[in-house]
Symmetry: C2
Subunit: 330 residues, 2 copies
DNA sequence: ATTTTTTATGAAACCATTTTCAAATCACTA
DNA sequence: TAGTGATTTGAAAATGGTTTCATAAAAAAT
């Protein structure tokens, strides 16, 4: 592989001049520029990014840490980050943490040692990662770090989402609504639950609560529990779309039809919610926009441009087939 | 950030000795080792991976190029690669090519300039990428490169898959089977189609063929076309699970029930095929095993260990609810 | 006790680039 | 024609590690 010295020798100039031609960082005599360009073409020279990154202290790599890339929410998110970042010359190092705090720490350290230009964290293990000292800017999704290491945070209006879900079911005529809430360590799950609680109080409705994680598996378990404990439930707010889908499956298998016998609503509006039959009603988060913004913030930070530290995205009700049609708008 | 020279100064030794202590690359006096270790702890020193990678010509990065990380097949695959690679100290640079040949080339070049240790390509644009000269080993998924750049290829027995799908439907009593085949540039789609054709000939059954890409969207279109052109079709072989899911939706929406009015089978056995209702019958590819193997091959190659160049995985019929139960095993 | 072998260690070279800095070249004016 | 200022240019330092190589010290062999 040809190096900058080879190019310089062929063009009859110094490596410095070749560098200047490539980066346009200073004036170069036209004749020499021509020779350098010719030599680059001849050798097929491509500068080594490592050497460049080492000197510049910037590797043009953004780390993206997600708990599970198989989770539709996170792969949609990661894809959006990748697309936006790619356009600005950044590359994505994908970190699948599996919710393993140690793995997260390892990844963060590696990224730091690689002179990564930024880190986008969509994870929840506060404990270990909060203490870490790193030299790169962090954009946190759905959480606030306590050590001020992050430059910005991005989240959805989960409280409103919780309210929307509860109101939707109440207005659709549900009398006994089970809230399958997500892990209460997560602010997202907390806020959604709070929204549900507040609406229930306002309407004077009794609250029924079950706990789940954010996975399909957990949805199956909760589904069974609903069948056993609340066989007369007619409304279910699932912790997210994946859980909603598996709860639906369990109830469907038990002979219950949606939305006739029960109505169910999820959160996130992942792609698959439109693909299942019946199509799932869901509270939409603008996942792609969130991913794009995350990448933009890192990019803007590196260019010393302005950006917003707190970014709260609006959520909306997407009415489909697992709930009964509402008449009124509000 | 402390560097190796700082550590050396504090420990009263040379940088070389610090390096030797860290990497265990040579004997070091016990007393000095102790002092070095203490100094490392004191300063919180972490070696810069870029400097290391630059000298060693190995960045411990594996590039994974996929057409679409949102596609369940590819995110399951990428996740498997990540897990396997992580265990061997490798990190994954995720490249979402969007089937854009130019983007692929850019990614390959970047990876090469980063001294990446390997590249796993699950893409189809032969044209441009085949000419590229790179210094890293390539593992190709479902394709053979013509320039011998790759060290190994991994694929499934798609021909057998095509046969299995056709036989399944025939034995389940289908009289008019539509084969919705995938893009015929891809060997995977070609082989599946060939399997279908051979079985049809053996059974003396008329062939009906439609074309699709591998996306949901294309499934919707084909679904409509089936309704228009072959309203009496009672068996559908979809190009993959995603297409099967959307075709199902279209037919279901038109009032047809599976498996009563029509039977449908997909390929790949992605996770969602178990999650939809009714559960989708599919030809299973061992996606996770394929991903793990891909990472292993790169790792073994770098350690100069043996590996197999041609790796063909077996496929199997996973009977679920969109086809009628078969009696006989074979 | 002397020679040979082995082991431990630091100085310096190396990886491939960018940037600083000082020198050389050039244009222009007095 | 010499002097001034602006512009180009290359040598060298820098980035932060690893490794080679030569040497010094210790251990083993004679």
């Amino acid at each position: 592989m040809a190096g900058i010295r080879d190019v310089a020798r062929i063009a009859g100039v110094s490596p410095s001049t070749v560098s200047r031609v490539m980066n346009g960082t200073a004036n170069v005599d036209d004749e020499k520029r021509r020779r350098v360009l010719a030599a680059i073409k001849e050798t097929g020279f491509k500068p080594n990014e490592l050497a460049r990154a080492l000197f510049k202290k910037s590797s043009k790599i953004i780390g993206v840490i997600v708990p599970d890339i198989e989770n539709p929410f996170f792969n949609e998110f990661a894809k959006a980050v990748e697309e936006e970042a790619y356009g600005s010359g950044y590359r994505i190092l994908l970190c699948n943490s599996n919710n393993d705090a140690e793995k997260e720490v390892t990844y963060i350290e590696t990224l730091d040692q690689m002179n990564a230009d930024g880190l986008i964290m969509a994870t929840q293990n506060d404990s270990m990662t909060n203490e870490l000292k790193v030299g790169m800017p962090i954009v946190a999704i759905d959480r606030k770090m306590t050590n001020g290491a992050e430059i910005a945070c991005i989240e959805s209006n989960h409280y409103k989402g919780g309210r929307l879900a509860a109101e939707c079911l109440i207005k659709a005529g549900c009398k006994k609504i089970i809230n399958v809430r997500g892990p209460q360590i997560l602010t997202s799950a907390q806020m959604r639950f709070k929204g549900y609680q507040d609406v229930c109080e306002e309407y004077g409705i009794k609250q029924y609560v079950l706990d789940s994680s954010y996975s399909y598996e957990s949805g199956f378990e909760v589904g069974k529990k609903i069948l056993e404990t609340y066989p007369d439930a007619d409304g279910i707010i699932a912790s997210n779309d994946m859980v909603a889908i598996s709860i639906y499956k369990v109830l469907h298998h038990a002979g219950k039809k949606a939305p006739k016998n029960f109505q169910i609503i999820g959160f996130d509006d992942i792609r698959f919610s439109r693909l299942m039959t019946p199509e799932l009603t869901s509270i939409r988060q603008p996942i792609t926009e969130m991913g794009k913004l995350a990448a933009q913030i890192i990019s803007r930070y590196q260019q010393h441009q302005d950006f917003q530290r707190e970014n709260i995205f609006d959520v909306s009700l997407v009415e489909r087939k697992t709930t009964k049609k509402l008449k009124t708008g509000k």
